[in-house]
Symmetry: D2
Subunit: 377 residues, 4 copies
């Protein structure tokens, strides 16, 4: 119920600051009896961790996760699963100059006004480092969703700054440091990032996430809609400024005949809805897209103020990602997994395990993994 | 905690179906001592109600609200405020033909799969009629926010189908049936809608909402961020497929030097953040934009299936809005008001009434009511 | 999440004041597909309603319930069920003299200090009249629990003031106005009440509630234990000052060999635990006992103060129950039903519908409907 | 919202098993700006920790707490405070014999039926060891309550098995291992416990807790009443079977003239209400009493069953408290502190910091620290 908890039945409570002793979370509500190991969680953490290419922050954080509770002899017990990640590379001196000033585009000023105090080291609580615990918790959710229902959750970068990245295939996503689903565009991305890094500036990105195999019927019709909770989760990722489901903002200029997905006995004919109608999953792929703003911490001079309200010029020379979007794909996947798992449990609570409707309609197959039609951006 | 409740401390629990006896809600957590009358709530309801122009549904619903509790001698007592709106115009026969089939783009199929049963009359619970209670509850929130903090919440239509609507001034918004902030474009909108209605098709829209006067410091840094809760609330409005805060999806192609809003002792120099940094309000205007999809119920033939899974052709001849976006502005305003009020109370709980920071920084004035820069759509 | 909501998945949100237009509630989270009628709810309401004997308040309230939503063609749809009870007998003049003073033992003073305002008519929100909506919501819960799992929830009065009421049989409970499970003691209760009423004083009571047929495994091990939530629900009934599970306060003087219920292949040999161990149901009867304090509103002179803090003498001549415990049995049953239903859904969410353990242990039968051993009061 | 979280605004999420790597909690919602140190938390933990006298378990657990987050330079930041206590003395072999059988009176059987799996080592999650984290979290709450409002929370043992312990003075409580407020009775308690330990049996206890200085107005009138939440918190402590507020079960036999606390300009004349009327604090002392059952793990032979449902004879030779009530006082204090802090924040959210009523009534002073009248037990 607190502001640092996510989910109602599969509930992740997060803690920790970038340069404190540790970050971590408590995952409450996980069903008992599922095998889970630190290795399985570590695999996901390693996809997000810093220092894996020259295009991301060079902070050295092994991000090694420890399971403190809730798993006995390799199997979940149904009690809270506490996950702990000790911080290793805490060069606080890098951040000494920001204690008295506010960085433009950063949470510094808002935190300080809210609390009257802040842990300024590396952004403290507002650091993207906190997202590691989401990835760890998400690893549990995606395993359960996959085991129980065959749900597969995958994301990719669909735009880096001005460069759109047409979807080609899923296999490529894991082969380049950008999570780009398109091998031919990777050199352009590399060049763009090298130049950007040299300039000292930063840039935004667009990330798409797709959940396949989600059963029809998850979600709630009003307020806690599946898409509303997804929007909440995605907008709750650091630096995200926009969220779309299915056709998203493209639907503004669409006509009803174009947007509404027709149904046939063989399935839906399109997926403008993005797999959600009336807040409830339709059995089609869940299609989510999000906008990640450019990193606020840049080397270039920016006008700002200090704690006394006086004008200062500020620049940030710590180890920062020039595009936070590059490491955002595993985070978006994790957030989607957590939301889906929460709704899986909520659905099971109210409606039971057995689907209510006739099997014939199960023929309504997902129409594919891509946004249909692709939004004309 | 239930799926039909919105907000944690200012908590709106909604009930009711389109063609049942009534719709309504319980507003819990409202501070005591605020004068409120049915008239004040009715004013907001009348802005949303059907039948006010030829461009919206001709259903005749006076939408008269009754206060059942929580107000004594014209003043809130701190106990739950129950609001009741009886349904009047329940021509169920209009909807008889949809009991056995599923309308494309509509929640029919998902409801039926989820619950194994549905009240099909007028969409039942999934009807946009439910949004009336949000407007009613929002009227309470916006009055309190205005009295207590001077917060003003206003929305407008910024795009109707393919027609962008440049912002001119707030006064115009209330003078035309589209909530368009631009008198010169209204004739074009009228023509477009007349033609659309004739064609039997429907279209989407974009709605922008702005909250001015929000104090710095509202929100939570992780998960329950102010912008995350706004995204949840907006995506929770029927037919919404996308939400942006500040620069939104435009931030994908922005550089850090362009996006991050510089600060001076006189205030922020831009508002790409849309008034929220790190999940916390900055004191600038809160800028929200949302995409409303085209109405799913149209007169034109569409392929679909029936409960047996067999192919059917369906069209809908009831009284439907050809563009649900036209009546969406008061709803979006209400949802933003409810979220802000909830966070106002949450902030007061944790941090007290008195702002923590020095007064000097209060000089950081909002940079204006419009999105800066306007997104290049 | 609000203070007027009860339950996490089966969630009852209550509203209304004693002498306002209406009381009612929204029941959210009820599974779809259950037949329910106003008649079935009315049966329970009639057990609690005033004016049924000379021993309770003579206020004339038919307490007729209207279902406003969530039920279609006689069956729950899974959407919120709103229940409305209009107030009929609102003789506000009876209460005019208490607007400026505070009644000893009543919530007047605390309300006024909390909110700075109160609806004093008939106690306003603090009136026991609000418990009608709990009974109405409880009727839905008990029907579902019975249909789904065969759970039976029954209560009785086990003590009236100084008179202990030994349990004889369930059938007698419905035959006398006291809910006493013992026909031979009823004349003594009648005499006691007649004398009490004449004296102008009031008295307390003890109510026991038993839930039979509760499956093993409901509850949560820490904090939201089944017994903790029961304690919360019972202490949340007006005038309740104490709650016991199983042996309750008798366990203070017990030894481990006496208290801990031994198990055999044929079942438990006693039920000191009251059907809950480690916060989780054991499959034995759930045994709950609660203390109801004497009515605060009495005809006799009492010292108090007025809003100016000056000394006054106050007595209350409205229509009040001389023993609020007499009508408390249906309320206690309803509260237990709501808590059990909530935990039934929570259990189903996390652990699924199918019991995990081997069938052999199902032989562990409940050891009986009575508290074993009966507490030496 | 999860079952392992306590409190809505001051929210404690607990994790950990008795013999896993660690136990701990996340405290979310603590106001910023309060100085807090591990030492201050350790003081409370040391009051509860095992091995401090021959009358409690001899398990050697230093219970050293580490603050992982939420405190910067010795001051709370408003972000989640994670507390970690590593388990040291994990002699799992002591518990090997219970993996296949169920101990009477213990949570074994219920856990296993619920989850189909359990961490049997030392009771796993159901171990009273988990209560250490409540004490740690409570230390934060009590400090804030005291700093902000002058609230003082103190508990004592009022009965050990058959021996009633008349209250004499607070100073004595900290001087004996029983938390008995009465020096003269301590030798009798020592003798009783020595004999009990020798016999291999266990015994129950009664614990009273008093909160002084609680401002008038905290609580909610319906459902989330202050006393309901206290009952939930106390019944949520391991081994508790009954909870009373104020006169508790004594109020059953009281008359209204006896029970209802009269008011004068100088204050209340008695405190049968236990400081709560209508679910809201009155400014009098909050008086809580709870029954702790005898320890279930005893050395004496008991009949039980194993996982196959076959009859076994079981006894427990690990290191167990012969009376878990002896160490329960700091836990009860902590739980009361957490509930009060939660309601302090909730009250501040809805009603603001400033009391609504006139100062004159502040004269209504608490009538003393003891239950008035003492319950005739």
């Amino acid at each position: 119920m607190s502001g640092n908890s996510l989910g109602k039945l599969f509930c992740v409570t997060s803690f920790g600051e970038s340069h404190g002793p540790a970050i971590g979370c408590v995952v409450d509500g996980c069903p008992p009896g599922m095998p889970i190991s630190t290795q399985e969680i570590q695999v996901e953490l390693d996809r997000r961790k810093p220092g894996t290419s020259r295009h991301v922050t060079q902070r050295r954080e092994p991000d090694e996760v420890e399971i403190l509770s809730g798993v006995f002899e390799g199997v979940t017990t149904g009690t809270p699963i506490a996950l702990l990640i000790r911080n290793q590379d805490q060069r606080s001196r890098d951040y000494g100059n920001i204690a008295e000033t506010f960085r433009p585009g950063h949470a510094d000023y808002a935190y300080w006004q809210k609390y009257g105090i802040r842990d300024h080291r590396g952004g403290g609580r507002s650091s993207a480092r906190e997202t590691a615990v989401r990835v760890a918790a998400g690893a549990i959710a995606r395993k359960w969703l996959n085991q129980q229902y065959g749900v597969v959750i995958r994301g990719f970068m669909s735009q880096l700054g001005p460069i759109e990245i047409p979807f080609v295939d899923w296999d490529e996503v894991g082969r380049n440091p950008f999570f780009a689903p398109n091998a031919s565009i990777v050199p352009a991305l590399e060049d763009y990032m090298d130049e950007l890094r040299k300039s000292g500036d930063s840039v935004g990105a667009r990330i798409d996430v797709v959940a396949s195999g989600v059963p029809v019927g998850w979600g709630e019709p009003v307020y806690d809609r599946l898409d509303a909770d997804i929007a909440y989760a995605m907008m709750g990722i650091n630096a995200v400024k926009g969220v779309e489901i299915g056709a998203g903002f493209s639907s503004v200029a669409q006509r009803g005949t174009e947007h509404s997905d027709e149904m046939t006995p063989e399935g839906f004919l399109s997926n403008n809805a993005g797999g959600v109608l009336g807040g409830i999953s339709t059995g089609q792929d869940i299609l989510v897209s999000m906008a990640v703003k450019p990193t606020s911490s840049i080397r270039l001079d920016r006008r700002s103020i200090d704690k006394q309200g006086d004008a200062v010029v500020i620049n940030t020379h710590g180890r920062h990602d020039p595009c936070v979007g590059i490491r955002a794909t595993p985070i978006a996947e994790a957030m989607l997994a957590i939301v889906l798992m929460d709704h899986a449990l909520r659905h099971r609570a109210q409606c039971g395990d057995v689907s209510c409707a006739t099997p014939k309609l199960a023929r309504l197959a997902p129409s594919g993994v891509q946004r249909v039609p692709a939004p004309p951006r």
